[in-house]
Symmetry: C2
Subunit: 185 residues, 2 copies
Amino acid sequence: MPDTPETPGPDEPSLDEQIAAYQREFQDLDPQVEKVVSALGRLNRRMNVAYGRQVADLDISNTEWEVLKTLVVSGAPYRLGPGELAKRLGLTPAAMTHRIDRMAGEGLVTRDRDENNRVRVIVELTDEGRTKWLEAMRMASTFEEDLLQDLAPEERVLLGEMLTRLLRRVEDAQPDAGGRLTDLD
Amino acid sequence: MPDTPETPGPDEPSLDEQIAAYQREFQDLDPQVEKVVSALGRLNRRMNVAYGRQVADLDISNTEWEVLKTLVVSGAPYRLGPGELAKRLGLTPAAMTHRIDRMAGEGLVTRDRDENNRVRVIVELTDEGRTKWLEAMRMASTFEEDLLQDLAPEERVLLGEMLTRLLRRVEDAQPDAGGRLTDLD
DNA sequence: GCTTCGAACTTTACTGTTGAAGTCTTCGGA
DNA sequence: TCCGAAGACTTCAACAGTAAAGTTCGAAGC
């Protein structure tokens, strides 16, 4: 039997137990804030595991799926350079080189020199890559619909809106020396 | 200049642009659902980068901080076996062995054989490890407070409650063959 | 009291990522 | 035109993680 990375935290303490433990050690912790943050973290871990399992059925990895998504989002003709891909995925260019190697080998993308500027490289989605993306997307959207099944339509909108507000706070914050999230506007 | 992994997605398309792109390629995508899911993903990526930068000031890595948190949550006397730690962190035991090696070398934890059952190993938080956790927690809670500054107190509670509902859906779902999230109760 | 089984790590080989150095091309002066 | 600097990858060495095999101890049968 393989040493599986094991579904994260099977008998890990519940969210409330976890927060209670933190409060015992660190009194001025705001439990409301901590609940939001901890739930976000756990939710994401679980979701990534679920996505990974699903796309594995298509013989691609979670990381390859990320690349496919990025190319699709860039729109037709589904082309980006390795550097741009790396930036958008938060990877080093070196990692991107290897990832593209693999994916080109699997026929998900092609890698070619830009004839107009021979320093540049163009990574382009193949039809197979586009098909894989579509299949993954279909599976993902089913999963996501299941995940949100307990939320009424208005709640979904509200949740999306609140998360967007948080996102705006992190994304628009200029890299402040002290690491504080500065006021916008 | 080092090849930095670069703050994820500096000029990545906005959330709405991204969703619009998906819809062009995959018509029956529910934009409300997708907005929630994409915002969750992005938020988490940004937050992890931010945490990583903050704890780096304490000379620990994000992954080491995870271990410290897990031990603190377990409560006094802050002891767990490598296997249990691995399970809670979603890692293989092998990875845990190396992580503990490193952390023991840095004085954040101790590693000892259990005298009552010499197959078992006990990882215990040191005072230094506990101090690091506390400092990291202080920085994190400031950041989290900043992050949530645009939400009114009632909104924070509501957000936490909705996220908990989603979490319940993923955590309680039995590993269903088809990957569907089954109905509970 | 052996022996076998199973549990709890550890070790080894391989894969993927980072950080730093190297290569190749383009561009902007001297 | 030629040179130097900058940009865009790629290569290389070190490190972290996974999978699978190995080790060691404890427990359960015979």
